[in-house]
């Protein structure tokens, strides 16, 4: 086996192991294993409508995945992506509901402002966690988790309080935005293509930033050794804040796209666990930027396809969540436990 082929063999082995465990679990759950997988794949990719839905789930996942790559590059565990998405959604909604589609600015500009506001919202929320880390010595895992709850609380309060729809406040969310303020839909009706385009652009931008720029190199330095970075005058604290800020802005943008492009209003739990799922996707891609879109797509198909489990097979749809978790764990374990590991690095 040549050195070049080794990672491929390793990946193939890990995938095969994950697949085997998946089949085992389906069998144990009393589900027809191959039919179940086929139904999920079909539900995620089988038709144009299904593919569009998958794309709708893929967009925020890729945005958050790219965002997380930036913070992971600086060795930050930014668990707060959920809250940053929510804050982005809140800022976007706040901006768009204030916009007057009839007069004033053209709708396109309103939309651009709304998305910019969403990025700002996510950025502010992420910087809060970042400053707690750099100035308050609070680890970003704890502040992120706390701020997630706060963001969710704020969105609930707005939906049921100040921004409630006329008549009866509803868990259905705020009043739907004027159609002029929706991101233009091309082709399929549920989803605007602007979202995926922005997500891909953000991903390419993040990859360029991390791989090709001096800033990316300094983040790698901070990740590798914060002490040495201090010694070289690289100001790790500032870099951490910058990484958090970029991450927050991208996650906030995801929230803005969910508001302007998918739900067209602020709803409770708008972040929809995309933040946590994106962490899984980044872990699945094990830090490889190239593998990240594939991992995001995989999770998007799983999320969308799992809807079919109760509908087509009367299976408990929690099965999809179990599969998702087991797959990630198996892939990790398989990498460690692969056979043929005679060669050990000294």
């Amino acid at each position: 086996m040549t050195r070049r082929a080794a990672p491929l063999v390793r990946a193939a082995w890990a995938l095969a192991a994950a697949f085997a465990v998946t089949l085992g679990i389906l069998l144990a759950a009393g589900a027809p294993p191959f039919a179940t997988l086929a139904v999920m794949a079909e539900g995620g990719l089988g038709s144009q409508a299904a593919a569009l839905r998958t794309l709708a789930a893929f967009t925020p996942l890729l945005l958050c995945g790219a965002a997380l790559c930036v913070t992971f590059a600086a060795n930050l565990w930014n668990i707060g992506v959920e809250g940053q998405i929510t804050m982005g959604a809140i800022f976007a909604q706040g901006c768009l509901r204030a916009a007057d589609p009839a007069g004033g600015l053209p709708a396109g500009l309103d939309l651009a402002l709304g998305l910019a506001a969403s990025a700002l919202g996510g950025l502010v929320w992420a910087l809060l966690a970042g400053m707690l880390r750099t100035h308050g010595r609070v680890h970003e895992i704890f502040s992120g988790l706390g701020l997630n709850f706060v963001a969710m609380g704020v969105s609930l309060w707005l939906i049921l309080g100040p921004w409630k729809r006329p008549g009866m406040a509803s868990m259905s969310g705020t009043e739907t935005l004027d159609q002029a303020l929706w991101l233009p839909a091309l082709g399929g009706r549920p989803m605007s293509m602007v979202g995926p385009i922005l997500a891909v652009a953000a991903f390419v931008g993040a990859a360029w930033l991390l791989r090709r720029t001096f800033f990316g190199l300094t983040l790698a330095a901070v990740r590798q050794n914060a002490l040495a970075a201090t010694r070289l005058g690289l100001r790790p604290g500032l870099r951490i804040l910058a990484a958090m800020g970029i991450c927050g802005a991208l996650a906030g943008l995801a929230g803005g796209i969910l508001v302007a492009g998918l739900y067209h209003r602020l709803i409770p739990s708008i972040s929809g666990n995309y933040g946590y799922t994106a962490i899984l996707a980044v872990l699945l891609a094990s830090g490889s930027l190239l593998a990240l879109p594939a991992a995001c797509l995989f999770f998007a198909v799983l999320t969308v396809g799992s809807v079919q489990l109760p509908l087509s097979l009367s299976l408990d749809s929690s099965l999809a969540g179990v599969l998702q978790g087991v797959l990630v764990l198996t892939l990790f374990a398989a990498r460690r436990l692969r056979p043929l590991s005679r060669r050990r690095e000294p």
Partner: protein, 392 residues
């Protein structure tokens, strides 16, 4: 509400007439969208079982359900998307189970004019926003809540009743108001106590269930009620904390009780602490709708079903039930039966004026009863209740 039996009779007649046509028709497939897990022992399971009931009682009917339809559990999945799927699988009637599907189900109804949609708990027909193929149905849980309040007031020693509220909206205010009216009636009219000696306090936790960090902890809220001398807590949330805490306090020697919500068997976990449970029974509520749709006689309307007071806990009859618990004394139980009968006969009408909101504005003037619309849109708690009418 007294129209209900007649409607049913008419329905049965229509059905009998339509039966030959039905047999030739292809069997009905209907979709059921549940907000929570189908087996949550609460709100969603009640709807799921209602669907099962319909499957049993309409020959050939088949239910397709999707549970956990909410953005947290199924990110990116919207109601119209699921309706597309259900339509592709042959569903011609869609039930949407929860308030938060309001916009989605309306959008789906507009996109699929060939299908029939019923939004449980919605009010689009009432507000005039509904397209022609979208109707609303809900049960008057208010009466069961009155019975809950009644049982609480019959039992309390201290005259202090706590209401563990979820989030604040029209529906939850309405239900808290109803519980208060039932309690006030028992306190003043049955027990003959002074009005000012009754204390009825509402504390909202902020959501339908406990979300650590976001909501107040219902265990803490229930506990602090008992600490402050409230000896009965009525739960308005989806989860059973109030009863659990009451049972724990009883073990420690306190004479306290609670009333859970939503699920008929909710008392089973702590029978002695339980005064009773108000619950939904969707079978008899959904069945006539399905039969109407099959017969082609369905018209979109805002249906708000009253309980069958004569057969409150009959699974085939009343869309809302109140099952008394072991904690309720025989005496109180007797009074409750009388109260139920009086509500049914119209002898007691707790929504009759004069009723006043917390801030002093008139809810219902003297001399008439609140209309459904006045009841449905409920902006405040009532005068005499403690607690916030709106979140700040």
């Amino acid at each position: 509400m007294r129209r209900a039996p007649t409607t049913l009779a008419a329905l049965a007649l229509c059905l009998a007439l339509a039966a030959p046509a039905l047999a030739a028709d292809k069997p009905l497939t209907f979709g059921m969208l549940l907000v929570g897990p189908y087996n949550d022992k609460g709100y969603s399971q009640a709807q799921y079982e209602g669907g099962k009931y319909v499957e049993e009682h309409v020959p050939g009917a088949k239910m397709l359900y999707l549970d956990k339809l909410n953005p947290a559990d199924r990110p990116g999945v919207t109601v119209p998307q699921v309706v597309d799927d259900l339509a592709a699988k042959g569903a011609t009637l869609i039930f949407a189970g929860s308030d938060d599907m309001k916009d989605g189900i309306r959008e789906a109804a507009e996109q699929h004019p060939e299908l029939t949609f019923v939004h449980i708990s919605g009010d689009d027909v009432l507000t005039g926003k509904a397209p022609k193929n979208l109707g609303n149905v809900f049960s008057k849980m208010e009466y069961a809540k009155m019975m809950a309040g009644f049982s609480a007031a019959m039992t309390t020693q201290t005259g202090k009743i706590g209401f563990l509220g979820p989030l604040i909206n029209d529906e939850t205010r309405r239900l808290a108001d109803a519980a208060y009216l039932g309690a006030r009636y028992a306190w003043e009219k049955v027990r003959g106590q002074k009005p000012e000696a009754l204390s009825f306090k509402v504390t909202w936790i902020g959501f339908w269930f406990n979300i650590p960090g976001v909501t107040s902890d219902p265990n803490q809220v229930a506990g602090s009620f008992f600490d402050q001398g409230y000896d009965v807590v009525i739960s308005g949330i989806d989860t059973p904390e109030a009863l659990t805490v009451a049972a724990a306090r009883r073990k420690a020697g306190a004479d306290v009780h609670a009333l859970p919500y939503d699920f008929k068997q909710a008392c089973d976990s702590a029978p002695e602490a339980c005064l009773g449970v108000p619950y939904f029974n969707w079978g008899p509520a959904l069945l006539p709708i399905v039969k109407d749709v099959v017969a082609g006689t369905w018209k979109p309307s805002f249906v708000w079903l009253s309980p069958d007071f004569a057969a409150l806990n009959d699974p085939d009859k009343s869309p809302v039930g109140f099952l008394p618990g072991q904690g309720l004394s025989a005496e109180s139980k007797k009074a409750l039966d009388q109260f139920t009968a009086d509500l049914g006969s119209g002898k007691v009408d707790l929504f009759a004026g004069p009723l006043t909101y917390q801030d002093g504005t008139v809810f219902v003037p003297a001399g008439r009863t609140a209309t459904d619309k006045e009841l449905w849109f409920c902006p405040q708690l009532l005068k005499g209740m403690e607690g916030a009418s709106a979140s700040k």
